[in-house]
Symmetry: C2
Subunit: 155 residues, 2 copies
DNA sequence: TTCCATCTTGACGTTAACGTAACCCTGAAT
DNA sequence: ATTCAGGGTTACGTTAACGTCAAGATGGAA
């Protein structure tokens, strides 16, 4: 059986993570420069722990929903500093709640967008059904996995 | 009673739209350059119709959920070309469905992010409740509207 | 040993999405 | 008559988020 990725002692090279998450070494080093990642070293080489991998997941997810690296870093720092004194924690709590509200607004936007696209799709489907039913995707037919990347790498 | 914004004959100056949507004239002209907007003219001056205004809404919403202007333009063009022949329509239909799937994935990401932030908030709240209950926002207290912009203008 | 793949650190190039400055026009107000 | 607020068009500057070399260390395979 394959190595459990979640084994805390599991370590990754930069390339392994890049393959897994479809990004480039340059990007990971860039995130490190900007303070979003801090992998260990073996000599010069970077060694990513399971925690680093999880953090990378958060970074990429943040990017997909439109956060800038600066915003992502701020959130990650809030996670890190669950020490730092009660006053700091109170501030962190406020920031978390603000973020939650912002995210909920974004989800609103997404839901609206989806609704509009669905409407447009239906209009088109009805129109095609009358004019060229043969062009409609058959009933039992599945959409092939889109070749176009869902989340374009270039922002 | 105020002018109904939805009156089809209602027209807007560039500044009116900018005030309403909190963006700059430069941005609107830029979107026009890029083919996302095409307001009418009175002499040199741009005159935005109600349709233009609606389209601007779509553009800004797209931006908030992380789309590039190029992607937004592509979507807008799909809307425009609900003519263009049956084959074109079939292609448009496919693109719409792809977009819907992509949006649904993004919503997944957002839901995950919200869930994590909620967890972190609860942890912090519990911690604070033990250590410094006075720092917690009181029960009847409302969060003030965040001064920080939910959607930073600079991408 | 030599080669090769894979890592490293600079450093410069690139693209998107505007900001900003310079200059011109125009109609209304002082 | 002039001032000025609002609009316009270049055109260059800026920032984020990397891409793309260049040049070097390293450790295993031929």
């Amino acid at each position: 059986m394959a190595l459990d990725l979640r084994r805390p002692e599991r370590a990754f090279t930069i390339r392994q993570l890049c393959l897994e998450f479809k990004c480039t070494p340059r990007a990971l080093r860039f995130y490190e420069d900007k303070g979003l990642l801090a992998p260990a070293r073996q000599g010069l080489n970077r060694v990513y722990s399971y925690k680093d991998r999880a953090q990378l997941q958060l970074i990429l997810r943040g990017k997909r929903v439109g956060l800038s690296l600066a915003e992502i870093r701020e959130i990650l720092q809030l996670y890190d500093k669950e020490d730092g004194g009660a006053a700091q924690n109170a501030k962190a709590l406020r920031r978390f709640k603000e973020r939650i509200i912002a995210f909920e607004q974004r989800r609103e936007d997404i839901d609206l967008a989806i609704a509009e696209l669905r409407e447009a799709s239906e209009r088109l489907e009805n129109l095609l059904a009358k004019v060229r039913p043969d062009l409609l995707p058959g009933d039992g037919e599945f959409l092939p996995p889109p070749h176009t990347v869902a989340y374009p790498r270039h922002v």
